[in-house]
Amino acid sequence: MELLLPLTVVIPLAAAFIIPVASLLGAKRGWPIGEIVALLAATALLIVSFATFASDIPITTWIGEYKAGSELLGLTGRPVPAQVAGEGGAALPGGVVVDQVVPNTAGDVAGIQPGDAITGWKVAEEGESRAFQPLGTMNELRRANAMLEPGTRVLLRVQRDGQTLEIGIRGGKSVVGIAMVCDGLTRLLLLVIAVVSFAAILFSLSYMRTYTQVHLYYSPLMLLIAGMCGIVVSGDLFNIYVFLEVAAVASFALVGFGVESEELEASFKYLVLSAVASGFILLGIGIVYNLRGTLNLAQIAEFTQFAERNDAMWLAMAFFLAGFGLKAAMVPFHAWLPDAHPSAPAPVSAMLSGVLIKASGVYVLARLVFNVMGASTAVAYTLMTMGMLSMVVGVFLAVGQWDFKRLLAYHSISQMGYVVLALGVGVEVLARQREMTVQWQSVAFLAIFGGLFHLANHAAFKSLLFLSSGSVVHRTGTRNLKELGGLRGRMPWTSLFARIGSLSISGVPPFNGFFSKLLIVIAVVWAGHWVLGALTVLVSFMTLLSFTKVQRYLIEGDLPVRLHNVRESPAPMLLAMGVLAVLCLGLGLLLPLYGGVLLKPATNHLMQLAGYAKSVLGG
């Protein structure tokens, strides 16, 4: 089981580097090695992401060794209440009786023996004036120890055979390893990434024939997948940054793949804005490290629970919101997306719009806001504002577009606004600690559930739409809606899939968009934000408007003269789109079947806020 998490990253990374080597070595025989390896890697990733569902508990894999402060102490024990009389008749004050001392740990070196009762502790440097603090459970000692500097001397008041001793032990925190964590949210996103990557690679098998330099394509695509899997799997703040950059650099190369002038311009704008975002994120990471002394997400979450809040965390949170908001294409940081996503080849657009803005933007924001930095009303209002602005601005700018892929890109901004709005409402409800009744908890649950459900749905139907646009471009050579029309006769399957995608995104039952939008609207209104709920419905209506226009100009209408000879797209492209279309239908109708396995643990793991630390570090 421990092998699974590294495998999610290693499989695409290995594929990314095996492909150029193998295609160089085998180029003379003309085998399509790149495509075969890519398809194998995508299948393997799909299997691995399904395998992570085998157990319910969060999986934590440590790279290297992990010795928490507790293990360095090497003590396990059970609490003893104050009234129990020990051997020899003397009454013990409340404390912890040591059961086991692991050899060669700090506890062993200090001379603690099994059977000792620890009744108090204090930090040695504080001198005689500070009294011993009472100890209830061993977890208290561990938790307090985890917040001390490494190497701090801790004095324990120990009762052994009726005597009271003071034993100095070398404590303090230390994480000597890097964590990879897989909890419910990670499993959901891994599955989304795996499915969309599989569809995109299947699609690229025949789509990339129209481009030259195909052997340069699969390698960055695999790097993109590896980067995104690494982001969702890593439990360490800096690992997130590294994998974010891997995915971003791979996506720069892919966006500019067609080396036409427009694609280069789009890629350059995307590059500059993404580099600015990376600068902000790194600055935020520096501030967090300075305040907390650790980069491990779980340990920072522990600090959120127990230590006092520092005002500089707000600055770090602001930088994170700016940086990851830019990656997630929130307004006002959305300027790169309408240029970058249409310019990429269609399967790359599907990956970018379908998973990259989620994995590197919304996922990290959710993880940081809910689990690590703590929920607060200021952050909640910021998220809600960003979400609302994205929704509205995205859809209003999308209605007037005639370029099919640019329209889809603007709708990506809008739908991401839905998700961020839902998450923001959840944060706002959770931040109101005083009124945390069961009813408010269910409001928060519904909001977060709706947001995550919409995230998964959006991956499905947006990738489907982008792939169908790619199919149209492949056969007709244009993506301008004014030049298309009446494709239902000549390209029946593509039209069917495009129609399914359009109906899904507009929120028409029985497709999946309807259910997730309904949940979000209900949650927003139930939380008391009537205006936002009305805006959400309005935006949904405008989306329907926009996609009615798409369907009218793409599928209905008369076939232009110059398109009279188009044929249907080749089979792999249709198969990829078919998989996503089946998902669009199934994700909505089969929610009761899979919701408990897929979405409920994700929501619960987000809602436990800083309890994340306990599930990762194991108490």
């Binding site: 190497g151 070398r170 971003a248 280069l264 990376s278 790194l282 490290y289 309408p338």
Partner: protein, 129 residues
């Protein structure tokens, strides 16, 4: 206090200069230089937060042998006065990442010059709306 604050002030000033260059300048190359300056400011910030004040007396570096563990005072004294190595590892990674991003940007700027014939951002606007 001026000794501890002034380097951070420099970081902030460099960061703002970098952001200004990215936001205001019209030449592609100046935008790239702005990004480099901004990344350098962030890297410098990361290195600065790892700084620990030097020890007052002589700190004798212990010779590390396999038998030493948590026990020795010399190790503890050394560790408490030496600079934190974690931000330096972060900065190394960040420099490498910045290198690859800047290399990609320069290649793309060269290509743009090839296609559009100019480095001026106001004229490289074929994508609109």
């Amino acid at each position: 206090m001026i000794h501890t604050v002034l380097p951070f002030v420099l970081c902030v000033v460099l960061f703002i200069i970098g952001l200004y260059a990215i936001a205001v300048k019209k030449n592609l190359i100046k935008v790239i230089i702005g990004i480099i300056v901004m990344h350098n400011a962030v890297n410098m910030f990361l290195v600065l937060i790892g700084f620990r004040p030097p020890a007052s007396g002589p700190v004798i570096a212990p010779i590390m042998t396999p038998e030493m563990g948590h026990r020795d005072e010399a190790v503890r004294a050394l560790l408490s006065h030496s600079v934190d190595p974690v931000p330096q590892a972060l900065v190394l990674t960040s420099i490498v990442i910045g290198l690859s991003v800047v290399a990609l940007m320069v290649v793309m700027a060269l290509r743009l010059h090839q296609k559009y014939g100019t480095f001026d951002l106001t004229q490289i606007t074929r994508l609109k709306g």
